[in-house]
Symmetry: D2
Subunit: 99 residues, 4 copies
């Protein structure tokens, strides 16, 4: 089962600057060879369910190891079995309607 997720990780108890934790997660998606795109309020990730979820778990573990005592993440998870659709397809589909 393929999945497109949007992940936003919020470390709690480590001050107001969270970018180094987000960067550590980006590195994990890169190392896992998962297609991913950073935006201003999270990261889109695409791939096989188990691989994507393993990366999300590793992200939580890593952010804890970096010193965050508490983490609250928000994830949107999209699956479909009617047809294949990539992250790029989704954006293109909306842009075509706007053109």
């Amino acid at each position: 089962m393929n999945v497109i997720i949007d992940l936003c990780v919020v470390p709690i108890g480590v001050g107001v600057s969270v970018s180094k934790y987000v960067a550590a997660c980006e590195k994990i998606f890169q190392d896992a060879h998962l297609s991913h795109t950073l935006h201003a309020y999270g990261t889109n990730i695409e791939g096989e369910w188990d691989e994507v979820m393993a990366a999300v778990k590793k992200c939580h573990q890593t952010v804890h190891e970096m010193g965050a005592p508490r983490i609250s993440s928000t994830i949107k998870l999209g699956t479909r079995n009617d047809r294949t659709q990539t992250m790029a397809d989704k954006v293109t589909s909306v842009q075509n309607k706007l053109a």
Copy 2:
């Protein structure tokens, strides 16, 4: 790693009534012996990360099998390594401040 999540599953392409799909997911959490509480906009679930995530995956698979061609879920995921905290602890902690 223990996790408290809040899961809201939205089946797309099966009309406006989604309660039977939500009920099917509740049944999965029950069968997995995961502590869970239904509310008006999702379900709180508590347990070991892998067990909770396996239930979330089974929920997506089941809702697809029931006929939903597309699903968009929203999950909040809380982990902490400074201390143990249950779902009940979190609610009690706020209620004590209100009392």
Copy 3:
């Protein structure tokens, strides 16, 4: 337009304990006479769109005034124009399917 929301407010930069900020928001919903229910990962709130959103804004303002330099909230927002449905209706509808 009526709305049922689920609000989860995460103050950033004030340490790991967030319950006093959540309690302050509960007080705001109470004072606004909005129907609301606390759960382990947020609060369900029901009412007229503008009144609910005014309470959410006041909640952000209050949490900042209490000392949080940064806040990241997650909100789910449900509206429907096919029929009236309360928060209690939503829970009952699922429970009936489980019975």
Copy 4:
């Protein structure tokens, strides 16, 4: 109070294709002259709280008028009063840590 939000609108009861509804919302943010960026699982929007929220409301109203009987949106809402930070700043901050 400035806010950066991430909005994902899911129309329910209108089939599996939702891009024309998302496009209608994009048009609303454009017409409101709000800085916004579409991604594969939502749209980042930046601006003064009341203006951003008015656009979100108009988006729900418009999607209902287009025929969707039910809508479930997910919004992440970030505010901070310690310093000014744009959507572009947030992305750059992470990218600098990755470089």
